[in-house]
């Protein structure tokens, strides 16, 4: 890209902490069983200073009801029927420790505030959040990335569906402690963004603080190429970072092109929807027919100076408009760059005769309810005006294919005010000392430590640490006295067992099985075989204990065997000793020991 220089990339990494919720004692985990349904609406105190947050105001204009599904890990607090309880201490300490590992200053007081969010994703209408650390940095392969803030906040509810009438949310995720780590826009490119995101995520993942699962760590990506900041929400998969940055970057440059070409000819006031339902009475368009049957009407408007820019090569102004109409539940638009199409053909001439577009004007057809057509028109006028004046700042979301879509305007500072239901928590020196003890190490540091302490390969150490097997590895090595064997069991044997067996086996179970194996006399060299038989073939320990190829021949027994060999088989030599013993004995023995015994006996 030509303008890569100007690009600024920042990240907000959100990490769910497992344990209890942030402001009540509900567990973060829950079986997904619907317990109760509650219906709500959210309102903003209007008639105020008039400056309340534009993102919130925007949501109010889309005002709908919200339906909440309650689950086993919900209580009165989640459903906004009880004030928040004291803050979850474990989550607070871990957020401090994470801040420390990111070289942040720690605040003297955790001051929770309310961030107004009235899209329904919070039953209260706000998200509680507090700054815990600030002014830190993360070392990366391409230099320091500055950390602006580390916040501790509540996770939001999960949206289940979103209809024109109401959005439905499931509350099992609401209130889960979420550590939000925001970087400055120091990130160089997509690859660097991925490295940064992964390094931050692993700080919480590796010590087992983060929840498991796809949504436990999510990124928001901030992007700017000189036309305002775009905040891209919900980049759950690391792999999407690259795709969406790429998409967004291209989007900005093509919009800049479009802007330079048509800005002067654009008169927003020409965007005005006219009821053309009459023309579609016997339309062949199935989309329009189904809309009409639901009681909607068909509208058409001129799109001034936009001919050829709506959907033409890289130009996609039509998608920018459709993002708006879809948010208001009106479906997409059909525009002149793609008509005839969608079964609309014979209606085009009458529409043109009504709209009377100029030469460069495009036009669009929209099926919508009568009550919201005015507000949709207003939103389209505003948004296209802003785009053409190259103010691209807004909140977007990314879909599964990595394409971003308009979501809402950027939130402003107005929407935050103190949460007085929660007492401010002083973070005194005793808490600081406590947190220092648990500061997570970076992955690199952990790998280096493990490699050094146990003399295992860096590859093995990396695998152990990333699988969260560190504790099991240490315990196993204590049992076996053999770090490499332990590493082999964890890194190779467990996947093998899992592959061959019907259910995955957990490292804890393996450690127990090793302990049991040793207690019934199975030797190290038979251990892997024993574990395979136990977990894959279902052989009991009682049966394993009788299997000779798992047992060792003792020194005395070995001596007796060799004596017997020497006295009965005259041709025993150092060279054939081992095969000869094996021919007589199924159990395992130490060949070195055998050689030494043979030497000693033959010397006699």
């Amino acid at each position: 890209m030509s303008n890569e220089r100007k690009q600024k990339i920042g990240l907000e990494v959100h990490i769910q902490l497992q344990g209890e919720k942030l402001f009540c004692r509900c567990p973060t985990e829950s079986s997904y069983e619907l317990k109760e349904v509650v219906e709500r609406s959210l309102r903003l105190s209007s008639g105020e200073t008039g400056k309340f947050d534009q993102a919130a105001k925007y949501e109010t204009q889309r005002s709908r009801g919200f339906i909440y599904h309650l689950h086993g890990n919900n209580c009165l607090v989640d459903v906004d029927e009880e004030p928040p309880h004291d803050v979850n201490n474990q989550a607070l300490e871990r957020s401090i420790a994470l801040s420390m590992s990111l070289n942040c200053s720690i605040v003297d007081y955790a001051t929770f505030m309310r961030k107004i969010v009235i899209d329904g994703s919070n039953t209260t209408g706000f998200q509680r959040t507090a700054i815990i650390g600030f002014g830190g940095f993360l070392e990366t392969s391409r230099g320091k990335v500055r950390i602006s803030t580390v916040c501790l906040e509540e996770d939001a509810a999960r949206k289940l569906s979103d209809n024109a009438g109401a959005a439905t949310y499931s509350l099992e995720r609401l209130g889960i402690p979420l550590v939000e780590i925001s970087t400055e826009p120091d990130i160089i490119d997509a690859a660097h963004a991925i490295e940064t995101a992964e390094k931050i995520g692993k700080l919480a993942l590796l010590p087992g603080w983060a929840r498991k699962g796809a949504e436990a760590i999510r990124q928001d990506v901030n992007f700017s190429s000189g036309f305002g900041r775009v905040e891209i929400k919900g980049v759950q998969k690391i792999s999407l970072i690259e795709t969406c940055l790429d998409y967004e970057s291209r989007r900005h440059s093509t919009l800049a092109e479009i802007s330079s070409k048509i800005k002067s000819g654009f008169d927003p006031e020409k965007i005005h929807f006219i009821d053309v339902t009459g023309i579609f009475e016997d339309t062949k368009s199935k989309i329009i027919l189904s809309g009409l049957r639901s009681g909607n009407k068909v509208y058409a408007t001129v799109l001034p100076s936009m001919k050829g820019y709506l959907k033409n090569g890289n130009y996609r102004l039509g998608a920018e408009i459709a993002d708006i109409t879809r948010l208001y539940g009106a479906g997409g638009i059909m525009h002149s760059d793609e008509l005839p199409g969608y079964g609309v053909e014979k209606e085009i001439t009458p529409i043109i005769s009504i709209l009377k577009p100029n030469k460069n004007d495009a036009f669009a057809i929209l099926v919508s309810g009568e009550e919201k057509i005015q507000i949709i028109a207003e939103e389209i006028r505003n948004r296209i005006s802003r785009i053409l004046s190259l103010d691209l700042s807004e909140t977007r979301f990314v879909d599964d294919s990595g394409i971003t879509h308009y979501l809402r305007p950027l939130p402003g500072r107005e929407r935050m005010y103190p949460e007085t239901d929660v007492a401010t928590v002083p973070i005194g020196s005793s808490i600081i000392e406590q947190c220092k003890k648990i500061v997570p190490k970076s992955e690199d540091q952990m790998i280096a430590d493990l490699t050094k302490a146990y003399a295992i390969s860096k590859q093995d150490a990396t695998s152990i640490i990333n699988k969260g097997f560190t504790d099991s590895f240490k315990k196993l090595t204590e049992l076996t006295g053999d770090a490499r064997l332990s590493s082999r069991i964890l890194n190779q044997l467990i996947p093998e067992i899992t592959k061959k067996g019907s259910t995955p086996v957990l490292p804890g179970a393996v450690v127990e099985a090793v302990e049991m194996s040793f207690s019934i006399g199975i030797v190290s060299s038979g251990l892997e075989r024993a574990l395979l038989r136990h977990f894959v073939d279902g052989v009991s320990f009682a049966d394993l204990s009788g299997m000779p190829d798992l047992q060792a021949v003792s020194h005395n027994e070995l001596e007796k065997i060799i004596k017997d060999l020497i006295s009965n088989e005259n041709d025993v030599t150092m060279a054939n000793l081992i095969p000869r013993i094996k021919a007589r004995e199924n159990r395992i023995f130490d060949p070195k020991d055998a050689v030494n015994i043979f030497k000693m006996l033959s010397q006699k």
Partner: protein, 415 residues
């Protein structure tokens, strides 16, 4: 919820732990500053850790004066703000909460705003828990004035003692020319999820019916869908925080409001042609909540020098037999004892057990299923407005629906 009235804004530029910040000062105390940063986040900073680079006093945003009367096309309703979170609004820039000063805060937030001609009267705000008989009288007079020139009155009130106030108003109004509806909010109005608006929306609808009673209108369940109309003298706050905390005790609600309109479920008293306010209240009354540890001395103190004592007894209306001689003696000296049950649900019946019969013979008068709190308020009304030889009869008489003859074991929540 922070309540504040300061309107000027202090802008700060400072360093803290090596970082530089800008923001607005929200609050300060002996040890700390509470600052709202330019990104919106709030920080509490110890005074000794802050290094202020620049401090700048600005006058705050102008309060736009709302019209006091907004002419919708419908019935005239008087809205009275007596305090409580319902009649307040938040300043998002500082988080401070202030009483509303006009009806504009309702526009766009209630669906029936245009259906009424609303007049707002703001009384000096009083926390619900600080309300006394004097406040009840003030509210009563304001309601009385409101009824004179409107169809009905809605009183916005803190929820803690709303049921007490409702009872007091119910007894004080011998006649009322329109509905008197009390409403409040369990979720303060400084949050988007506040129950305040739907409560007010429903209250306005109830206030425009032909009801001639003092009622409480609050959420029916946890959803923002249905508002209950509850008879003031049969209502109790039964949960500290849920939005459906107010329950009709021993009988169903009078009516429900939802988007479909009002559905009356029980018979009710219709409004009178005129108003009659008897606003005298006797304050020499007390409520004794019996428990096994209550001492004779404390019992005597609570009864001493009172004109009426409401006993919240156990079960069917009992207190320990050790209080019988005290009651007999104080009773002879002219103090009246009335029995209610601390079970809350159900009626007292002092014929069933010998303790009850003993207490009756000692002078205690059973009050059926009247709620303890309602009995207390009723005694204040009765003892201020009736002759001593009438008080027992009036206490036992069902004046405003406070005593229910029949309790049925079906329909509605019964315990």
């Amino acid at each position: 919820m922070v309540r504040s009235k300061h309107n000027s804004v202090t802008r700060l530029k400072f360093t803290y732990k090596g970082s530089e910040f800008e923001g607005v000062l929200i609050a300060e105390d002996r040890d700390t500053y509470l600052v709202k940063l330019s990104n919106g986040y709030n920080l509490t900073i110890p005074r000794d850790s802050i290094n202020i680079l620049d401090r700048n006093e600005l006058s705050g945003p102008e309060q736009s004066e709302s019209e006091r009367i907004l002419s919708g096309k419908g019935k005239k309703i008087t809205l009275i703000g007596s305090g409580g979170t319902i009649a307040s609004r938040v300043d998002y820039s500082t988080g401070a909460v202030k009483p509303v000063d006009g009806t504009e805060f309702l526009r766009g937030n209630i669906s029936n705003f245009e259906h009424f001609e609303l007049e707002l009267k703001i009384l000096p705000p009083v926390f619900s828990e600080d309300m006394t008989a004097l406040n009840w009288q003030t509210i009563a007079r304001s309601v009385h004035a409101g009824l004179k020139d409107s169809e009905g009155v809605v009183v916005m009130h803190g929820t803690d003692t709303m049921a007490y106030t409702a009872s007091a108003l119910a007894f004080m109004f011998e006649k009322q020319s329109g509905p008197i509806i009390l409403t409040g909010s369990q979720r303060s109005s400084d949050r988007p999820s506040s129950d305040a608006f739907l409560n007010i929306e429903g209250s306005l609808e109830f206030a425009s019916t032909d009801l001639g009673e003092v009622c409480i209108a609050m959420h029916k369940g946890l959803s923002d869908t249905t508002i209950n109309l509850l008879r003031g003298v049969r209502t109790r706050k039964m949960h500290s925080s849920r939005r459906d905390a107010f329950k009709s005790i021993g009988g169903p609600e009078l009516a429900e409001y939802s988007k479909g309109g009002i559905k009356f479920k029980e018979s009710y008293k219709e409004r009178d042609d005129s108003n009659e306010l008897r606003d005298k209240l006797e304050s020499r009354v007390s409520l004794i909540y019996f428990n096994p540890i209550l001492t004779n001395e404390d019992f005597e103190t609570l009864a001493f020098n009172k004109r009426a004592v409401v006993l919240a007894g156990t079960g069917l209306g009992h207190v320990s037999n050790r209080f019988v001689p005290t009651i007999r003696q104080l009773s002879k000296s002219g103090i009246k004892f009335y029995m209610t049950t601390q079970c809350i649900y159900g009626s007292v019946n002092m014929n069933v057990y010998s303790t009850g019969r003993e207490l009756i013979s000692a002078g205690v008068i059973p009050l059926g299923n009247m709620l303890s709190e309602v009995a207390l308020v009723k005694s204040m009304f009765v003892f201020a407005n009736y002759d001593p030889d009438e008080v027992d009869r009036k206490m036992k008489e069902n004046l405003r629906g406070e005593i229910m003859d029949r309790e049925v074991p079906f329909g509605g929540e019964t315990t």
